[in-house]
């Protein structure tokens, strides 16, 4: 549903004339006239007001009863009074009612000092109490989940948390038990409330009933300060505010930016800060000496790294991880491309195979075709293609749910693995793992109403009737169509074809025209995937999507070349390919074969075993620089706390490396690097930190966007797409990466319990044929072309929505990861050593 047009109206509150958008709730509109109406249950982020707490009762002239300002939309000419004796009496009573059962333990309550109930009691309460009755008692505090403690005595039953669980994250776990004054918040049967977004209820709670287990009793509001930045754990790039006490991050809060996050955070973003304060974090330069990594001086480490990278007689390869900032990526590129003359670098996290060519990248990222995050919410229809938002870009999951629930957006999901969005999708279509390209070709035929839908769908392992229905829906739902597509669609053997097919579908739906509200939104596999692409940290594209003089090696080719001895030095910036790339075996060999210089927060498997030099990297809260959101919004990282003693900022280390290998170190500050980028990328021209500001700026909305290069708009003639592998008794192997599979989760004490275990998701019919039951131990075996077999263990997880003939396993789990298996087909058997 497209955004409604909003007219302005004039109303009067407490004698002041105020202009406000029509339909705004009085509680919000009054603020425009500097009138504060107290609220507890009202929170616009939660959707429709419920009018439950009755704190916001006001007098509206012409209406006999007091009205709740949270649920009364302003109308032209409305006259509102918030300070009459009648209103005052009602406000005082509500405060009195709420305090009847609220313990006066503010001095030991985490919320004390930043508590709406405290503030409102002082501001609007009577100041004295008339009650002599005993208060309500509950066991307290109890663990609502390992992350959240609940003190039910403090709860004022505004049920914001329950509404969040029911209507925002839609995990439906929190409910109200009992009735009346006995009501309490909990989960069915007392199960722990574990869900990807559970931490938001801590921030929503207007009292100290829900507290963070990680923050509880660690600081008081007068000890702390807030510092705004951006989370770089995933492409969602939510705006955060770090709570800092004594130069240490104590918690992470949302810093609401409606264009990015709507004021929510996922639990990884909220609690991963703990991983900066663990013993095994790298805090000083390390050098491999006698087979062991030992701390050394910065001079020694820099000299050694310069020797390994600079004097390398053969080739040099570089990889950048998703959390790499634009500035770090730019200096890495300068070091390798401009100083050392190598073109072999890649920034696509976890990508196997070649990269999309520059012209097609430009066609996909062109401003005309770019959908924004809010567009997802207001579109007529949205197709989620080959992406699982809750894992790949969690915050987008909430935005999609919001669109469906509140704006009647029609959702379609087309993935291999069953999606958590299936239940709210009008169409949920499955295709074989790795057959994204064939599927998009089939979809193109269906949308266009031409071509062999049945044949193409069969090649994709998809149901032709479902593909037809999906095509019909996208065609007929309305002009504002947004396709949210996962970068993994272009991680196959022929990414250019996948990109062309996608562009064809987009063209048929008129998404490539300059039409606001419709377009493409890519979910990159790295947090700053878009920024690194735009500064040219790709084998196939230079800064600003320029065609490079010569195409460099992709990640996989870098590994192969290293094993073959053509590359002797590997430079790893915030990435451990052994941990995060599909071919774990290949990368182990490559890291073993080459000299490795790395920048990392943690010694993950590959680095611990093979790195020669490791430079300490900053944690998110320590970092300065910029990142680019998937919809083109440049955002600023601002350091909230100091780096550990002995660490240097990575941009500085890279700059020093440039000097150490004989280059010209031009950057003396991070901001100077930003300026270099703004000069090199035409459509970033002139951008400054000031302009980016607190909420970021989309480059598409600046004048310089006109300098965006023309993309390849050719005829998009497609060859026959590669059909999905025929399972023929085996199962097609699909890979997925859980939101919880990350070093930050593994290292944050609060989140450790969420670190995933390997599981094999398969269709119940496939399981039955193999005598496998839900929860049973299984082995998954891949046989290589040379006859060698690799096996990993997993727990069978049967999902009715999984497509027949496929099995899905998790990547990013270290040695038990699916990345050990290098094959398209696998055999799944019940584990003879551990029968059911």
């Amino acid at each position: 549903m497209p955004r409604p047009e909003i007219n302005e109206i004039t109303f009067v509150v407490d004698g002041r004339e105020v202009v406000a958008p029509a339909g705004t709730m009085l509680a919000d509109a009054a603020k425009l006239g500097d009138v504060d109406i107290p609220v507890f249950c009202y929170e616009p982020k939660l959707g429709q007001p419920v009018g439950a707490c009755r704190m916001c009762l006001v007098e509206v002239e012409g209406i006999p009863k007091l009205q709740t300002a949270c649920s009364t939309p302003v109308r032209d000419g409305m006259v509102v009074n918030t300070e009459t004796p009648r209103v005052k009496a009602a406000q005082e009573s509500v405060v009195e009612f709420l305090l009847l059962n609220h313990p006066l333990d503010c001095p030991v309550c985490d919320k004390g000092g930043e508590c709406p109930l405290q503030d409102i009691s002082y501001g609007w309460g009577r100041g004295t109490s008339r009650t002599v009755e005993p208060k309500r008692h509950f066991e307290k505090p109890v663990e609502l989940s390992p992350l959240i403690a609940i003190d039910r005595e403090r709860c004022i039953l505004c049920y914001r948390c329950v509404r969040f669980s029911q209507e925002v994250s839609e995990d439906y776990q929190l409910i109200l038990h009992e009735r009346g004054a006995d009501t309490f918040v909990g989960t069915f049967d007392g199960h722990p409330y574990v869900a990807p977004f559970s931490g938001n209820i801590i921030e929503l709670c207007p009292v100290g009933a829900l507290t963070s287990q990680a923050y509880r009793f660690r600081a008081r509001p007068w000890d702390i300060e807030q510092s705004g930045s951006v989370c770089t754990l995933c492409p969602g790039q939510c705006n955060v505010s770090y709570t800092v006490r004594d130069d240490r991050v104590m918690r992470v809060l949302s810093r609401q930016n409606d264009a990015v996050d709507d004021g929510w955070l996922c639990d990884r973003g909220r609690f991963a800060y703990q991983s900066s304060y663990v013993d095994d974090r790298v805090t000083e330069p390390l050098l491999r000496d006698g087979g062991v990594l030992r701390p050394v001086s910065w001079e020694r480490a820099l000299a050694e790294a310069a020797r390994l990278l600079g004097k390398t007689p053969a080739g040099l390869g570089a990889l950048a991880g998703g959390a790499t900032s634009n500035e770090e990526g730019w200096l890495l590129r300068r070091l390798h491309a401009d100083v050392l003359g190598s073109r072999d670098f890649d920034s696509r996290s976890g990508a196997s195979g070649p990269a999309v060519s520059a012209g097609l990248l430009a066609a996909l990222d062109t401003p005309e075709a770019q959908a924004t995050v809010p567009d997802v919410e207001w579109a007529h229809s949205v197709l989620v293609l080959d992406s699982e938002p809750v894992d790949d870009m969690p915050i987008l999951d909430l935005r999609i749910r919001k669109g469906v629930r509140r704006h009647g957006m029609r959702l379609a999901v087309a993935t291999s693995r069953p999606s958590s969005l299936d239940s709210i999708a009008e169409q949920a279509v499955r295709f074989a793992p790795g057959a994204g390209e064939a599927f998009v070709c089939a979809l193109d035929a269906a949308v266009g109403g031409i071509g062999d839908v049945a044949g193409l769908a069969a090649a994709a392992g998809a149901d032709a009737a479902q593909v037809e229905a999906l095509g019909r829906m996208l065609r007929e739902a309305g002009e504002d169509v947004v396709i949210v597509w996962g970068e993994r669609l272009t991680h196959g053997a022929n990414p250019d074809n996948a990109a062309r097919a996608l562009l064809k579908v987009a063209g048929r739906l008129s998404l490539l025209d300059d039409h606001a509200g419709a377009g493409l939104l890519q979910v990159p596999s790295g947090a700053n995937g878009r920024g690194l692409r735009e500064i040219g940290l790709l084998p196939t594209a230079g800064p600003g999507y320029r065609e490079p003089a010569a195409v460099g090696r992709s990640a996989q080719e870098i590994a192969q070349a290293t094993i073959a001895g053509q590359i002797t030095g590997l430079h790893l910036l915030h990435v451990d390919p052994v941990q995060s790339f599909p071919e774990r075996g290949l990368w182990e060999q490559a890291l073993h074969a080459g000299a490795v210089v790395a920048h990392a927060q943690f010694l993950t498997d590959g680095l611990r075993e093979h790195a020669n030099v490791v430079f300490p990297a900053e944690a998110g809260a320590e970092k300065e620089g910029t990142v680019t959101h998937p919809d083109g919004r440049l955002q600023r990282l601002r350091p909230a706390v100091a780096r550990p003693d002995g660490a240097r900022p990575t941009w500085q280390v890279l700059s020093q490396l440039i000097a150490a290998v004989g280059g010209q170190a031009t950057a003396l500050t991070s901001m100077m690097v930003t300026s270099e980028i703004a000069e090199a990328v035409p459509f970033y021209a002139g951008i400054t930190h000031d302009e980016i500001g607190g909420f970021g700026v989309r480059w598409q909305e600046r004048e310089a966007a006109a300098a965006f290069p023309a993309g390849e708009t050719g005829p998009f003639a497609l060859e026959d797409p590669r059909p999905a592998a025929s399972p023929n008794g085996a199962l097609r192997l699909g890979r997925f990466r859980s939101v919880w599979a990350s070093p930050e989760v593994a290292h944050a004490p609060a989140l450790k319990f969420l670190a995933p275990k390997q599981r094999a998701e398969l269709n119940p019919d496939d399981a039955q044929e193999r005598g496998i039951r839900h929860g049973q131990q299984v082995t998954v075996t891949a046989t290589g072309e040379d006859g060698s077999a690799e096996t990993i263990a997993a727990v069978a997880h049967l999902r009715a929505a999984a497509p027949r003939g496929s099995v899905f396993l998790e990547s990013g789990l270290g040695a038990e990861s699916v990345d050990v298996l290098d094959a398209a087909l696998v055999h799944v058997n019940s584990d003879p050593a551990r029968p059911a």
């Binding site: 419920v50 009755r54 009573s93 009612f97 109200l176």
Partner: protein
Amino acid sequence: MTHKLLFHDIDEPGLNTIEVYKRRGGYQQAEKALAMARDSIVKEIEVSGLRGRGGAGFPTGKKASFIPQGKMDKYLVCNADESEPGTFKDRELMQKSPHTLIEGMIIAAYAVGANKAFIFIRGEYVQQAEILEAAVQEAKDAGYIGPNVLGRGIDLDLWVHRGAGAYICGEETGLLDALEGRRGNPRLKPPFPANQGLYQGPTLLNNVETLAAIPHILAVGPEAYAAMGVEASSGTKLISVSGNVQRPGNYEIELGMTGREIIYGLAGGPDPGRDVFFWFPGGSSSPVLTKDDLDLPYDYNSLAGAKTMLGSGAIIVVDDSNSVVDVAVKTASFYKHESCGKCTPCREGTNWTTKMLKRIQSGEATPMDLDVIESVCDQIMGNCLCVLGDAMAMPVASMVQKFRPQFEQHIETARAANEARLLAELDAAAPVLEGIGH
């Protein structure tokens, strides 16, 4: 002479079967209505002056006229969650003449264009629900419900849905939430159910007695129905009389009789030697009247004039053998127990009031607590999400206001009794205390 409509044949054996019901003229009005224009039925109901019999007394025809036209799914919901203490008229109606309700629903559904209808019946009415279910099946078999009703191209489905025993589900929006499978909590209004009710569709919600009256209105004609009773209180009304009377039960009356005629005339008054102390004229949520009010005409406007209400037509008589304190505690406890907890004044106010009244009852209060009770009731009234809070505040406040001397007397008596008991205990303990050196 009182006309009997709803209760005309009520004790006819087998009236709950379609056979007997039809023999007594049943379903003729449905057949007639389905041949009429939809808006002319709504018009007839408006002319009849029928007011909602559930408690609020809103003009039924007017409510039906709020249902928007259009092709969207529309719903008819019958509120059979009869939970107000003292009210048991719908129970007898559904038990003895379920087809009257079904016939009324067929006509109402047709009139507003609803083709899905529900009867939400309280869980405790097991027998009545079973009778209704059997009657619905009979009506389906006879072609009065189902696809193509009576061959007129209209579809009507009707379900009997049993509640789970919460008073709040008798509040219309709480009922809708419960019917949708959610916790029965009232919704914010607006939007009103007529626009966004069940499953967000336009919904006509009426009480059992209201819907059951419709066939009778069509039978006697709207003008004749309007001529019964008095101004603004037309037609006949079922009233449930209970408490300290010799002949408790349901009576069908024309509104406008006096309280005395009902309580003494129909129900036989209190036991010999006892006198009326006070009475609830419209269920336990109505402000109480004293014996001085017995000659008040029993109709909507007269009762409103006396700052109380006709409500569901449930008269509870309390004679002078009772303590007003006990009645107040019972009343407040009921609403405290039934408060859903969604909005603050009701959740906390009913709980607090009950605690204070219990302290008064047990002699641990002072007359100042009466002031607090009055002020708490005052702050509940009109400030809640629905009227459940008011349902406690109105009768309790009225009792405290009208019988303050009795409350103060009780406080003093109970306090003195406590003190005497304490002293007696101390006396009894004195030898022991002396023995240990005190």
